[in-house]
């Protein structure tokens, strides 16, 4: 079996992280509804305040900094809805997180199958 990469690169989304990220995730969960997505787009800062995000979380939302959002308690399931709202695919998000272009990220995945 392959020696897997060490998972220390991964923020484990556990209880304490879920406590830290609750409001952030609640905001992203709201993006299931089209009206919420529109409200966010109309005024991002207001929408973040409505959910009580911390300063750091608001900054990371503004900067579309997925890695930072994960550190601040974001769950990838809800962040995926934020990414979707921005028009990003999971492969775009993969590229953003790993410092690759989407095309490079896709190539990396293809190589994993070889």
């Amino acid at each position: 079996m392959n020696a897997a990469r060490n998972p220390l690169d991964t923020v484990t989304f556990d209880g304490p992280k879920a406590t830290q990220g609750y409001n952030l995730n609640k905001m992203c969960y709201s993006f299931n509804e089209a009206s919420a997505r529109e409200a966010f787009k109309a005024n991002e800062a207001d929408y973040c305040d409505r959910f009580g995000l911390t300063r750091e979380q608001k900054d990371a939302i503004r900067e579309r900094d997925i890695l930072r959002l994960l550190e601040l308690g974001g769950s990838i399931y809800y962040l995926a809805k934020f990414a979707g709202l921005l028009g990003l695919s999971v492969q775009d998000v993969g590229g953003l997180q790993t410092g690759m272009s989407t095309e490079e990220f896709k190539q990396k995945l293809v190589r994993a199958g070889e």
Partner: protein, 279 residues
């Protein structure tokens, strides 16, 4: 008595649904993936199951962290879908089932599984993608579905061995049901993948193939893995193996492998397909 006719393990990646919506099945990226499905569709068409018990995980459509179940089961007459926030095309409602559903709930509670019972539930791509993939052109609407959701999102998650036992209990419930329906069990999701963080895009083909082999011949060999192990070996979302284990638990005992496929990549994921019959 109801008859458990077989089990299907399949990927449930949203991109599959999009590819079908856009008619991309025969494009180079998708051809090898979709070409694996006709044998399973043919088997389903021959067998004509009445009910599908579908193990899946909700990815933040119906369940939020405010009230997140470890295991949830539906007992509703119908299940709706939604766009999930990233513009996937919602599909027409899934047909539900209430009688066997409640019988399974009774069995689970009697077997000391502390399930959350859902009389109303929106199901996400974890359930809808396999339905459209196995029964295209809205043929899925003739199958009655019993959804069983497993927490694969927030740790602590149920132990992989616990999900196998959940499947065993559900298998016994099906086989003790007084109706004469034919039931198929679906395990959806996986296999290795990781969406989040600097390790996004991690896939472990070797481990996936090992799991697929052991799921057939010796599922016990997989029950020692913790979710931390799976995160390390198969990526943070590799914990979706839970649904395959539950599926295999339901079919308990020796099985015959009728068809399988493994394909990389679909989106970020190692995509497995497996069709089993009781031996």
């Amino acid at each position: 008595m109801a008859k458990l006719i077989g089990a299907v393990g399949t990927s449930h990646i949203p991109a599959i649904g999009k590819a079908m919506d856009q008619g991309l099945e025969q494009t180079p990226y998708w051809k090898d993936f979709f070409d694996a499905y006709p044998p399973v569709r043919t088997w389903l068409d021959e067998q004509q199951p009445d009910i599908a018990v579908v193990f899946y995980n909700d990815h933040g459509l119906s369940f939020f962290l405010d009230k997140k179940p470890t295991y949830a089961i539906g007992t509703a007459p119908e299940y709706t879908n939604a766009d999930e926030g990233w513009g996937i095309q919602p599909i027409a409602p899934i047909t539900g089932e209430t009688e066997l559903s409640w019988h399974i709930v009774n069995t689970l509670i009697d077997d000391e599984f502390d399930v959350t019972v859902c009389q109303e539930l929106r199901v996400d791509h974890g359930l809808t993608v396999p339905m459209t993939l196995l029964w295209p052109n809205e043929q899925y609407r003739k199958i009655k579905v019993i959804p069983v959701a497993i927490n694969c999102e927030r740790h602590p998650m149920p132990k992989p061995s616990r999900s196998y036992k959940l499947g065993q209990s559900i298998g016994r419930a099906i086989q003790s049901w007084s109706g004469d329906e034919k039931v198929v069990v679906l395990g959806t999701g996986g296999l290795s993948h990781q969406l989040d963080g600097a390790r996004a895009g991690f896939i472990n083909k070797e481990f996936d193939l090992f799991c697929m082999e052991k799921l057939v011949s010796d599922p016990g060999a997989l029950l020692g893995y913790t979710n931390a192990d799976l995160t390390e070996i198969a990526g943070a979302q590799g914990v979706e193996l839970a649904m395959w284990l539950a599926m295999r638990g339901a079919l308990e005992g020796d099985v015959k492998l009728l068809h399988q496929n493994y394909h990389i990549p679909v989106s970020n994921t190692g995509a497995g397909l497996m069709l089993l019959e009781p031996a």
